[in-house]
Amino acid sequence: MNVDASSRCDPATLHRRLRNVLPPHCLLVEDEDLRPYECDGLTAYREMPLAVCLPENEGQVVDVLRTCHQLGVPVVARGAGTGLSGGAMPHAEGVVLSLARFNRILKVDRDSRTAVVQPGVRNLAVSEAAAPFGLYYAPDPSSQIACTLGGNVAENSGGVHCLKYGLTVHNVLRIRMVSIEGEIFEIGSGAPDAPGYDLLALCIGSEGLLGVVTEVTVKLVPKPELAQVVMASFDDVAQAGDAVAAIIAAGIIPAGLEMMDKPATAAVEPFVKAGYDLDAAAILLCESDGTPEEVAEEIARVRAVLTGCGARDLRVSQSEAERLRFWAGRKAAFPAVGRITPDYYCMDGTIPRKRLAEMLAAIAAMETKYGLRCANVFHAGDGNLHPLIMYDMSKPGDWEKAEAFGAEILELSVALGGSITGEHGVGIEKINQMCVQYATPELETFHAVKAAFDDKRLLNPEKAIPSLHRCAEYGRMHVHRGELKFPDLERF
């Protein structure tokens, strides 16, 4: 939804009104100060805002939101800006509301296993603060040293351990949220099953469209005594996919279950020297955690299953250092691919695991079609695939090809029974593919839900949920759940 041009607020008025509610060091208006905020982790999309607000307390957040509501100015909330879908990309006629100064851990309580934190606290800092109590915060997105809890709530972030430990939505107990009108809502609580609708589930993953979070209560879990990882290599990706299904069928829910294809291990190995089998078509990393007895029992079962599935090589980490080295390659996959290509574009579709071989074959065909290479890393346990499409921004037409390549992967994810995004969010990046995943009545419902929180549509407008007009333009109103009306039509 575009902000009506006639109601556009002139920058001078906006700056004057914001100066009334914020001290000078909490407001940025000069181009050189705004520049660092022009994009998030998805650098292909950029926009300059009219101002950046850096409030230091909730009262200031309320005042900024009220001011923007009165003036009809869009507001984009921002944590660390590590998101990969452009969710924190500014609005050209709007304000960026940075929660960076909300960086205090207010409470860590061992007995109730909870922490109360401000939204600008980094994900890893929560686990560090809980460590003296033998506890940690389970969701661990790969950006956890930098990304913030507020951003995690906005995106419903996952990580490599979410098959066993859940996503942000399973690990957040309560949020305090300010509406665009400046009203404060307490959603959820330290007690289970808060009365009324499950607004916590609705708000977590809402990509900053429903409100601005000012406080988060998270669940902490006891740190397992031991973790060990099995690394298995396979001659065939389908075989590796079958091995994943066999582990699940054996009644095992590993703490982590990750797959990398050959181009991914080839990119990673020279970078981290993890000791990956470079001749393998795919490698699997399967982690077990718990008490030493539990881990020993589970590792033995995992080994038996993987051997039965034809793994050509199996190695079990024998020390914490070796376990971290096995993981280092997986965790460094993105930067490692970044070393072998000028630019890469990361996709985030989820698919039923059993469709993996089909998806990888289709991606291989797309590499030929678009003339671009692609490495695949896969949260195999929960079907979340991250193809890394390699391109060169400086080459004319390359980005457009990468974007079309990515769109085709996402649309195939939907066609295979999955989703366009497992953990990175829709943001601005996948806004068109939302038209493929959802039909008009669902999209209308999403807009109505949005209006129940923000009827002027000022919070992060034009993100996450496409307007019906946009979908019509994208020419996909007739597409739903992969049933392409014109499947043979080429689209770029």
Binding site: D193, A201, K223, E294, E442
Partner: protein
């Protein structure tokens, strides 16, 4: 009963402004606000649509009895880990609409944590699909989880997909003798340690603790914790899950949810403690205002869970919402059910 018939019934009710009372097996008719409206019986829309053990999900129509789903899962060694009560023939739709979870809730999660997707018929009779069958899906608002616990006020759940989990390899139950305060203290202390505790129940000076997981882990934890191992404990946990245990046998029963560490409320009538201290049951002549105030002061909330109609018509079942939240609830209700025909008053009298 087909999806088209559900749609037709809701469309007609919407057009005629006829209140509807959505009903599966009716096993939770006692729960929530007083029943109102013409019964729309959804129990005939039944059957498992899709079950993929290695993908960890099951999709079924709303009228499918939980026992039927669980029997299919058991063939593959899997379970509904939130352990929802089955009562008399409880259905999948009712299970999600009520959002009531069982003994394993604190370890495994609540009903909402396992909802992956729903096919919803909203108050206009539109069929809406939210979520799906994959574990991770952050496209669009998480409406499927919003539906869990909404007591049918936002739409008829025609079909739903739940995440399933393998049954634990080993389970053992320990019994300890202790007073209620001591039980709460111990449960929180154990909860902060890497122990495979999967359920707890305190009643009349006895604390039962269930351990689940790998055989070696369960054995090691049992040795560490001491207590007396109980034989035939499976039946005990079934009785707790189905609320057939004597602790729940009272004409007036309050369900009080609290932070697990909350000290005992200054209210008489505490009967039982579950969920690591986070769920406490009160029975008998309890003053509604007093127990609500005490629960809220302790950071929780009190639900009039089961009571005779003479009491239910005077007391709201759920803790009243602050005005701003209530207004938001009404706006959301309007999004899904503009005519206000679905289960009016079942959640809150105001909508």
């Amino acid at each position: 009963m087909t999806l088209d018939e559900i749609v037709a019934a809701i469309r007609a009710a919407h057009a005629g402004h006829t209140p509807l009372r959505l009903r599966g097996a009716g096993s939770k008719d006692f729960y929530g606000g007083l029943l109102a409206g013409e019964v729309l019986d959804l129990s005939g829309h039944r059957g498992i649509v899709d079950y993929e053990p290695t993908e960890l999900y099951v999709t079924a129509k709303c009228g499918t009895p939980l026992t039927e789903i669980e029997a299919a899962l058991a063939e593959h060694g899997q379970m509904l880990a939130c352990e929802p009560p089955r009562f008399a023939g409880a259905t999948l739709g009712g299970c999600i609409a009520a959002g009531l979870s069982g003994p394993r809730r604190m370890q495994a999660g609540a009903v909402r944590d396992f909802v992956l997707g729903v096919k919803l018929v909203d108050g206009r009779g539109q069929v809406l699909n939210f979520g799906g069958q994959v574990m991770k899906n952050v496209a669009g608002y998480d409406v499927s989880r919003l539906i869990a616990g909404s007591l049918g006020t936002l739409g008829a759940i025609a079909e739903a997909t739940l995440k399933v989990l393998p049954k634990p390899v080993a389970e053992t139950t320990l019994e300890f003798a202790c007073a209620a305060d001591e039980a709460v203290r111990r449960l929180n202390d154990w909860g902060a340690q890497p122990l495979p505790v999967s359920a707890a129940f305190w009643y009349e000076g006895r604390l039962w603790l269930r351990l689940s997981g790998a055989a070696a882990a369960v054995d090691a934890a049992a040795r560490k914790l001491g207590g007396k191992a109980l034989a035939d404990a499976g039946r005990i946990w079934e009785d707790i899950r189905e609320q057939r245990h004597a602790a729940y046998a009272a004409p007036v029963l309050w369900r009080v949810a609290l932070p697990s560490t909350a000290p005992a409320l200054a209210v008489d009538g505490q009967r039982a403690i579950e969920w690591g201290g986070a769920l406490r049951w009160y029975a008998g002549e309890v003053d509604a205002a007093a127990i609500r105030a005490a629960a809220v002061a302790a950071g929780g909330h009190a639900t009039l869970y089961r009571a005779p109609e003479s009491l239910r018509c005077r007391i709201d079942p759920f803790t009243p919402l602050p005005p701003a939240l209530l207004a938001l609830h009404r706006r959301l209700k309007k999004v899904f059910d503009p005519a206000g025909i679905l289960n009016p008053g079942r959640l809150y009298a105001e909508f």
